[in-house]
């Protein structure tokens, strides 16, 4: 099998040959003896493996005639689940969202089988609720059924209890222009301003300026944006704690302004603790980096984000700084 002529052999540790290795190549693997470079994706794989460890190509097979990949197109837009980091690509045209058989498949009982529709068109992203039981939110605005709304890159979308961040190729703030908004005929003229407001001024979408990093317990990490964020189990909170039954529906509030962070318990059943001391309800407590915060059964460490001004560079997307020196100024190329 290893004598297959189509396989390119490299010496185990030849320094000049290691240049062939892609950055993903595991240095430990190359010690195994021979390695093979995959003709499809050019990843180095140990000869012991029958399949390329990166793309899965059957290495003993004849190399396909045309290895010309369709240029690897980055999807025009993606949705990222906040809780799991799972990415859902959006295609140009229509994408259905729901719990069963949809393009964007969200397996959560609060999502309807056929929940919403996202249209990607001319570099714009339109979100439309299809009469779902638990509703769709774009930023802060709950959509009326069958009325498409424009959403920009970085906006938080919510289907039932599932929160996702919209990422548009080209970075934050992309995908909005008044031109496009006018095309959304379904938006009544009177409500246009309010409906577009979250898209133009994404309040929730601001990248976190601080973190409540989980130390232990059943809850989830909480990215804290600037301004006031409510913390609790209920989905209406800006920071929703899942998985911790000891967190109240409406538990606490964190306010970040002027470089200071203040935490207030809003009358939770099981209390909010800072460095082991229970907060009096409705009495704000200033947080310092390193403070240990306990909400329900979950302990967190409070910390600031290193560079609060810098944009999040979503992985797997082109670096916004390189291709788009002025953030949000460029339009997305048409497909």
């Amino acid at each position: 099998m290893s004598d297959e002529p189509t396989r390119m052999m490299t010496s185990p540790a030849g320094p000049e040959k290691t240049l062939l290795a892609t950055p993903q190549a595991d240095p430990l693997r190359t010690q195994l003896g021979g390695t093979t470079v995959c003709p499809v994706c050019h990843t180095t794989t140990p000869v012991l493996e029958s399949y390329c460890c990166e793309c899965g190509f059957l290495l003993s097979a004849t190399v396909p005639e045309s290895l010309k990949m369709a240029p690897e197109e980055a999807p025009p837009a993606e949705l990222v689940e906040l809780e799991t980091g799972r990415r859902h690509r959006l295609r140009v045209g229509e994408n259905t969202v729901g719990r069963q058989g949809t393009d964007v498949l969200l397996l959560d009982s609060t999502v309807s089988r056929s929940h919403a529709r996202i249209r990607v068109e001319n570099g714009q992203v339109f979100v439309e609720d299809l009469g779902s039981t638990n509703g769709t939110k774009v930023g802060d605005v709950r959509l009326s059924p069958n009325q498409p709304v424009v959403a920009t890159g970085g906006t938080l979308l919510r289907f039932g209890n599932v929160q996702l961040r919209l990422e548009v190729r080209g970075g934050e703030g992309q995908g909005v222009s008044l031109e496009g908004a006018e095309k959304t005929v379904a938006i009544a003229a009177s409500s246009e301003a309010t409906l577009l407001a979250p898209a133009m001024q994404p309040v929730e979408t601001a990248p976190p300026v601080a973190w409540l990093r989980k130390l232990e317990g059943p809850g989830n990490e909480l990215p804290v944006p600037a301004g006031v964020s409510r913390i609790g189990r209920r989905p209406a909170n800006e920071l929703v704690v899942t998985g911790d039954a000891y967190v109240s529906g409406s538990h606490a509030e964190i306010r970040v302004e002027n470089g200071e962070a203040w935490l207030t318990d809003v009358g939770s059943t099981n209390g909010t603790f800072v460095n082991g001391r229970r907060l009096m309800p409705n009495q704000p407590q200033r947080l310092e980096p390193g403070d240990e915060v306990k909400i329900g059964q979950t302990s967190y460490r409070f910390e600031w984000v290193e560079q609060p001004q810098s944009q999040e560079a979503p992985q797997g997307m082109p670096e916004p700084q390189e291709e788009h020196p002025n953030e949000g100024a460029d339009n997305i190329s048409e497909e």
């Binding site: 195994l32 003896g33 399949y51 190509f57 059957l58 396909p64 990949m69 980091g85 059943p218 998985g243």
Partner: protein, 442 residues
Amino acid sequence: MEDRTQIIGASPTQMGAMPTQMGVAPTQMGTALQTLEVECMPGNRYALAGDISREHALVVLKATGQQLGRRAPINVCLCIDRSGSMEGPPLDYVKMACDYVVDMLEPNDILSIVTFEEHVDVLMPARRVVNKALIKEHIHRIEPGNTTNLYDGLVAAFMQIASVLPQTQGYVTRVLLLTDGDPTVGIKDYSTIVQQVAEQRAKGITVTALGFGPEYNEELLAGIAKRSGGNYYYIQRPDLIPEVFRRELETVMSVVARNVQVRLQLSRWVNLRQVYGLQPSFGPRTVEVTVPDIERGTSRTVLAELEFERHPVGVFRVAKVVVTYDDLLANRPGQASADCVFEFTKDAALLAQGVNPIVHNEIEIAQASQNLQRTIMGMRTQQLTAMGALSELQRTRTILMQTGQIEKAQQLDAAMQSLQRGSGDVEKTLMGTIVDIEQGKR
């Protein structure tokens, strides 16, 4: 316990020095008999190259039927509802059922008994079953109380099982929860209870939910069983309680693989859309699902839906399937793996020839489960009349018959008879069929 994965991982230098062993997958070396066999079938031999396409992959886990050695010992907690409504024959039969359990256990097994009404009592903390007569004496002192504090009862049961967990590696753990009603005091909401169950699952504690009579909440009990990887039973009459306890205990005693994790390592250009009936956890290019305990001689299926992004023409392993489990026959960690391979082609005509009938069958069965859920929902919201529900069930029954799921088709027969009689337990029966399908029991 011996860690086999470490031995495999620690041998790269050795293998480099042993060119004769090249090409032999490490997992196949020196294994005479696997407790679990793993196979992965693509839904179609072919997939479309150069395009975005969706296909299914079926993972089949088969447990050996061989009678090897003794059964694994069990750490079991009986968690019994003694609310007022259990008074009379139900509680009498429960006591008989508990006696049964005590008789079936061996000195190596661990038993605890918790009862709940408004308050929770630990009738017997987790102990080896030594003095059977004394345990039974305690069982016969169970008296009916008032309300139903299911959550605290469950938590007490978890604590009993957990209190001996460190000393009981290699044991099968199980809480047998029996209730006849909705929770009425304490924490009552579905998501909190099910979340608690899911957390205990992560620690290796499984709950089997036994619903008795017409009043219990089947949605809650099925949810507990599903999230916990345990079984669900609907017990119609009190005199059936001892029989169901015996059946469940026998099931627990025949478990050969527990803590079964199926991990799909996805190749480039492959995304996982869903795993039917199970809640996957997503990592960087890996997806993991926990599969319920597997009994001797049985098999379980895991059906996944994949999405491919513009593969070139050629044969590709789209995912490597790695299964890890506690091998209770050999009393050590077990591991098995399989490759999920598709041939990507530009020739769309080939696709029609490549369909795998076994995988296709599984997709139909998954569809049957979704049909049943829709029927239940339709009946609850009264969008479906009894006649409408009957014809829906008939259709689903046909699918189950055609796919060889005779036992499940019979469950539907029972549900249809109930529907025709006008009795209200149709959903309780159907829920059992859904749980069985979603847990991949075949």
